[in-house]
């Protein structure tokens, strides 16, 4: 069991408040990702859960027990660190067993656990080596093995993949996800990489300036962002933000000197709110070459001047301009080649998943 409740948690260093009242309810067995730019407080929040930093106010509960004032070793939590933090003078097997040794687990049981963990992570052949004799990926495995051996109620991962090269990172990502599926233990995982967040999480908490901006499933976060910051932070290439004049219940897009009207969801609410301009948020994959089978009131066709294209392989990102704002469209490779050649094209804009934000506050409108 390992459900976590975080209630009104604050943390200050001197005069600066790093956490400003965090509330999170993490279910048992859940894979929760804390994501945000550096300095957003995600690492501080994780250290507070681990007990490595004292909180200023608020409570942390695991399975309903208030552990706010317990020392790290009494919390039954294991952690994987960004730098791995392997004990340099100990062999791999002692690195894995050290936590059990400190907890006075009988020797035979320790040996059995180390063997099991080593088998699970395929590091049996490394057990007698020192950390300095391991590659980055192997160290990463040992660091996970050390956490696994303890069989804790909660695993904490602090940017565990950021020191690996790109290929290994993708491999380990999948491996961590498989491991979680197999063990079913609650994981709280900190990262600044939104791809990692999307691919791994059951639920994501997006943080900024010591506050949770949005807490939801990857689907919710991606398709229904709570504000402009979340919409901007999640997704690559990022969402397009276009400031548009409101005309009745429609938005105006200007391209190559011509004006086009764009129908959007919640248009009726726009009308009621009486705003002059709003920010239209639309993801690149909703701006494509015309696709005949997509139809409806929310599908428009608008010309676009193509400045540059970036072929990614499976698709091509095209850069154009609307309303004096740079726009990224996601085209098929073939359409991308055509666009590059002709320098302009008609793109199809599907606003069914578009979102609207207040031009000043960035707050979400409607929805």
């Amino acid at each position: 069991m390992g459900s976590i409740q975080i209630q009104q948690l604050t943390k200050s260093f001197g005069d600066t408040q790093v956490l400003k009242g965090i509330d999170l309810d993490i279910k048992d067995g859940e894979f929760l990702i804390l994501v945000g730019p550096s300095g957003c407080g995600k690492s501080t929040l994780m250290n507070s859960i681990a007990g490595l930093e004292e909180v200023t106010s608020g409570d942390i509960l695991i399975d309903g027990d208030n552990i706010t004032d317990l020392s790290p070793k009494e919390r039954d939590i294991a952690m994987v660190f960004q730098s791995y933090a392997l004990y340099p003078t100990m062999s791999v097997s002692r690195n894995i067993s050290f936590g059990l040794e400190m907890r006075k687990v009988p020797k035979t049981e320790i040996e059995k656990t180390v063997g099991g963990v080593a088998q699970l992570l395929q590091i049996e052949h490394l057990l007698d080596r020192k950390p300095s004799q391991l590659s980055g990926g192997q160290r990463q495995r040992v660091a996970m093995g050390r956490a696994l051996a303890r069989n804790p109620r909660v695993f904490l991962f602090d940017e565990p993949l950021s020191n690996l090269d790109a290929k290994l990172r993708v491999e380990m990502r999948t491996e961590i996800k498989k491991l979680h599926k197999r063990l079913g233990t609650t994981i709280v995982y900190v990262t600044h990489d939104q791809v990692e967040a999307m691919t791994l999480a059951d639920r994501i908490a997006v943080m900024k300036d010591g506050q949770v901006q949005q807490f939801g499933t990857p689907y919710e976060i991606y398709n229904n962002p709570a504000n402009r910051f979340v919409a901007d932070f999640m997704g690559s290439p990022p969402m397009n933000f276009i400031e548009c004049v409101v005309l009745d219940d429609k938005l105006v897009i200007e391209s190559q000197g011509e004006k086009f009207e764009l129908q959007v969801p919640y248009g009726d609410q726009l009308k009621k709110a009486g705003l002059d301009t709003v920010i239209l948020g639309i993801r690149p994959e909703m701006i494509t070459e015309p696709k005949p089978y997509v139809e409806g009131a929310l599908v428009h066709t608008i010309p676009m001047q193509i400045e540059v294209t970036e072929p990614m392989g499976p698709d091509t990102i095209a850069f154009g301009q609307w309303n004096s704002t740079e726009i990224q469209a996601r085209l098929s490779p073939e359409a991308g080649v055509d666009a590059q050649d002709s320098g302009k094209m008609l793109v199809q804009v599907d606003t069914s998943k578009a979102v609207l934000f207040d031009a000043f506050s960035g707050a979400r409108l409607g929805g």
């Binding site: 250290n47 681990a50 007990g51 490595l52 020392s71 790290p72 070793k73 939590i77 294991a78 952690m79 660190f81 960004q82 730098s83 933090a85 392997l86 004990y87 340099p88 003078t89 100990m90 050290f98 936590g99 400190m102 907890r103 050390r146 303890r150």
Partner: protein, 288 residues
């Protein structure tokens, strides 16, 4: 082209010769001490200081060790040699142990004010000890430790801690704090982390600290001459007394044998572990 390389070669030969000449100059005093110590007193008076001894005459060494007069008594340097050992060994062990724990706290368990304390301690590396001589004498008298070996041990521990702490703090500051965090989550406490994680990493800096303290305390004269009494003097004080005792004719051979005896332990340490000695010397001076 070939003339250029020739002039380069000549330069190089000249520089190397220069280096060797300097090496001889630096070795000179040691050579003179050793040769003089094996000469008889007549040979010294008639010959010159650079001459090799006619025969290896060890009598000056025997006298320096066991029967030369050092001020009041005439037991040679032997008792003072052992005095120094009795002062040096406990003092260096205690100050290194305290320095290690201090450095561990100051680098890995910082708290509000710990950096200030480190600064205050660092300053202690530089104060001229003359400024604490008088009150320390009072304190030792008050503790009943005046003129005792224990008192000297205490003084050397107190004024050695600044250096040993500096060594260990600067060494441990390079070890990532994540190790401490990982070990805390593994259930280890303050001392267990020190013992299992930090101590096994510390061999080089322990050697640096021990060698530094050994040479500093063995070579100390100021504390020795101020805080020791008859019978508890360290070897530097005894050597100075031996050389400056003016009873009868000067026995330069005995003086030199005594000087070599007094220098021997630190020289041996230096030759065996010179690398660490240099590291200690430059620890506070060169950045990084």
């Amino acid at each position: 082209m070939s003339s250029l390389t020739l002039s380069k070669k000549l330069y190089k030969a000249f520089f190397i010769t220069l280096l060797l000449v300097f090496a001889l100059a630096y070795l000179g005093p040691l050579y003179v001490m050793l040769t003089t110590s094996f000469k008889g007193i007549e040979e010294i008076r008639n010959g010159n200081i650079l001459a090799l001894p006619d025969a290896l005459n060890g009598s000056a060494w025997v006298k320096a060790w066991s029967s030369a007069c050092t001020g009041g008594d005439c037991f040679g340097l032997a008792p003072y040699f052992w005095n120094s050992m009795r002062i040096v060994i406990p003092a260096l062990l205690i100050s290194t142990a305290v320095g290690a724990l201090n450095g561990y706290v100051l680098s890995q368990w910082r708290f509000k004010g710990s950096n200030f304390l480190f600064g205050a301690l660092l300053f202690g590396c530089f104060i001229p000890f003359q400024v604490i001589l008088l009150p320390m004498a009072k304190l030792l008298a008050w503790l009943g430790l005046a003129n005792t070996v224990t008192g000297l041990v205490l003084v050397h521990v107190i004024y050695g801690i600044a250096f040993t702490t500096l060594f260990f703090r600067n060494y441990y500051v390079g070890i990532p704090n994540e190790l401490v965090r990982a070990a805390r989550l593994d259930g280890a406490g303050f001392f267990a982390i020190f013992r299992h994680v930090f101590l096994p990493l510390s061999t080089p800096i322990i050697v640096v600290s021990v060698i530094w303290q050994f040479t500093q305390i063995w070579n100390d004269f100021l504390f020795g001459v101020v805080y020791s009494g008859p019978g508890t003097q360290p070897i530097t004080v005894a050597l100075n007394n031996l050389v400056n005792t003016t009873m009868g004719g000067k026995e330069y051979n005995v003086d030199m044998a005594a000087a070599v005896i007094a220098a021997l332990p630190t020289l041996v340490v230096y030759i065996v572990a010179g690398k660490y000695f240099v590291r200690g010397l430059t620890a506070g001076a060169v950045k990084g």
